[in-house]
């Protein structure tokens, strides 16, 4: 693949190239506790995008000079596996990955109660296993679940989703093809339980009305995603309960 075959992004019935309606998300799957060696972990799939996150900590910092005297240092590493893209991606962290690590970290800095664990670090490792657009938003969702699974106190769960503009239409949860040929891309992450937007980026141009509509679409999707996150967290405990009460 990888060829630039012209795909009609929106057909005459208003459906997108994969058959979704503009306000429809890809199928979402979430699971927590997928890695035994980490304190908390989660895998999140938005359609073909697959992201795994692992949390270690709070723990003693590996390098002493990093410690903060009054709070835990949150470290986030967003990384795309070499096999996650159509063409092999160099495993060395790229400029993009360094930037995304920063924005994802900032999406959690006001959410995680870092003041409870001074002089420690909380490490979040995010690995994109398969990239099909929306990896940063899936990464935020996975990181949020992994942090909750690690038992690190946080004010609320965070989820992310991107809204794009293709052929003049606002569409929810853009995938790789739409992202590549769309006119705008607006990744948003928020914690709806406490009414906070924690990640907001815009690539391309949107009018004020479009931006406002796009935000409404994103926030309503994020509310659904957070509900799914809660379901995934509760399922971990509901399972053993059902087994035992047979």
């Amino acid at each position: 693949m990888g060829g630039k075959a012209q795909v009609r992004l929106i057909d005459e019935f208003g459906r997108r190239h994969d058959g979704r309606l503009p306000e429809e998300m890809r199928p979402v799957r979430m699971q927590v506790g997928v890695l035994d060696n980490s304190d908390g972990s989660a895998i999140v799939e938005y359609g073909k995008t697959k992201v795994i996150a692992a949390v270690y900590g709070p723990r003693e910092p590996v390098q002493r000079f990093m410690v903060l005297p009054d709070r835990a240092l949150l470290r986030v590493r967003y990384h795309m596996a070499p096999f996650s893209t159509w063409e092999r991606k160099s495993p060395a962290p790229s400029r993009r990955e360094v930037e995304l690590s920063k924005v994802i970290r900032e999406a959690f800095e006001d959410i995680v109660l870092v003041k409870l664990f001074p002089r420690t670090t909380i490490d979040v490792f995010i690995e994109v296993l398969q990239a099909d657009g929306g990896t940063r938003t899936a990464a935020v969702t996975a990181a949020s679940l992994a942090l909750a699974d690690a038992g690190i106190p946080m004010k609320a769960l965070v989820a992310g989703v991107a809204v794009g503009k293709i052929d003049g239409v606002l569409v929810l949860d853009v995938d790789e093809i739409e992202d590549g040929s769309g006119e705008a891309d607006l990744p948003v992450a928020a914690a709806p339980d406490i009414g906070k937007i924690t990640l907001f980026q815009l690539n391309g141009v949107l009018t004020e009305e479009e931006l406002s509509k796009a935000m409404d679409m994103a926030l309503s999707a994020i509310r659904q995603l957070v509900e799914l996150e809660k379901k995934a967290l509760k399922e971990k405990y509901a399972f053993s309960r059902e087994v035992r009460s047979e």
């Binding site: 709070p58 420690t120 004010k155 609320a156 769960l157 339980d193 406490i194 957070v226 809660k230 405990y237």
Partner: protein, 233 residues
């Protein structure tokens, strides 16, 4: 799924206003009580009670913990106490006399990998926890086995009025010491009972949030004893 009387809640879920719960696990945001970790909301009592199912152990002065010696300094040992902070045990405290690093060697007393039972003397946000082994039952652990569980599950291993602990002890004849940092020291009459005990503790950890656990664990131990052929008498 969760019944009506006990509900599993996730971070960000709003709790009833009169909920009983400790500070970092239940916080006030805009006048609403909010859970910050995955926990169990128990609605059976007079007031709803929030029990965290996951938490990170943060030492408090007075806690009796089981520590694992992780490295050795000039005048002290560094002890892993299953918390984000490495604890310090001074040589002088352990030996009960002044210690001279020029004439003595700390590895003679405690090596890396040894377990100790110790009490947290001091801990604040600016310094690592300081341990002491002066006290009854404290010191190096020389026999038995250590089982590690999530610190949030410790109350469940003890049970209401020590019900779980008493049941475990009477069923297996083991001596059990449960430290608040999630490490459990068991001392059993034989290896079979020891492995049964480990399995029972792991079962409690796995199913800590379920109802009627003590009876189920008891049944489980009895089944295992039958399989191992340990006397009914």
């Amino acid at each position: 799924m969760a019944g009506q009387d006990r509900v599993i809640v996730a971070p960000g879920d709003t709790l009833p206003d009169d909920v009983q719960g400790k500070e970092p696990y239940v916080i006030d945001i805009g006048g609403k009580k909010v859970a910050t970790v995955v926990g169990l909301l128990d609605l059976r009592g007079e007031k709803p009670n929030f029990i965290p199912l996951l938490h990170v152990y943060v030492p408090k002065p007075g806690d009796v913990v089981i520590g694992l010696v992780s490295s050795i300094g000039v005048m002290n040992w560094f002890v892993d106490i299953n918390s984000p902070y490495a604890a310090v045990l001074t040589a002088q405290d352990f030996l009960g006399r002044p210690y001279n690093p020029l004439t003595d060697d700390l590895t003679r007393y405690l090596k890396v990998g040894d377990y100790i039972k110790a009490k947290v003397v001091a801990f604040d946000r600016s310094r690592n926890p300081l341990l002491t082994v002066n006290g009854e039952g404290l010191g190096k652990i020389t026999e038995g086995k250590i089982v590690e569980i999530q610190p949030a599950k410790v109350p469940r291993v003890i049970g209401k009025k020590k019900s779980m602990l008493n049941m475990l002890e009477s069923e297996t004849g083991c001596q059990i010491f449960v430290a608040v940092n999630g490490r459990i020291h068991i001392l059993c009459p034989n290896k079979d009972l020891e492995s049964i005990m480990v399995l029972a503790i792991k079962m409690i950890e796995r199913e800590a949030h379920t109802v009627g656990l003590t009876e189920r664990v008891q049944k489980y131990i009895q089944e295992l004893k039958k399989i191992k052929g340990i006397g009914e008498a």
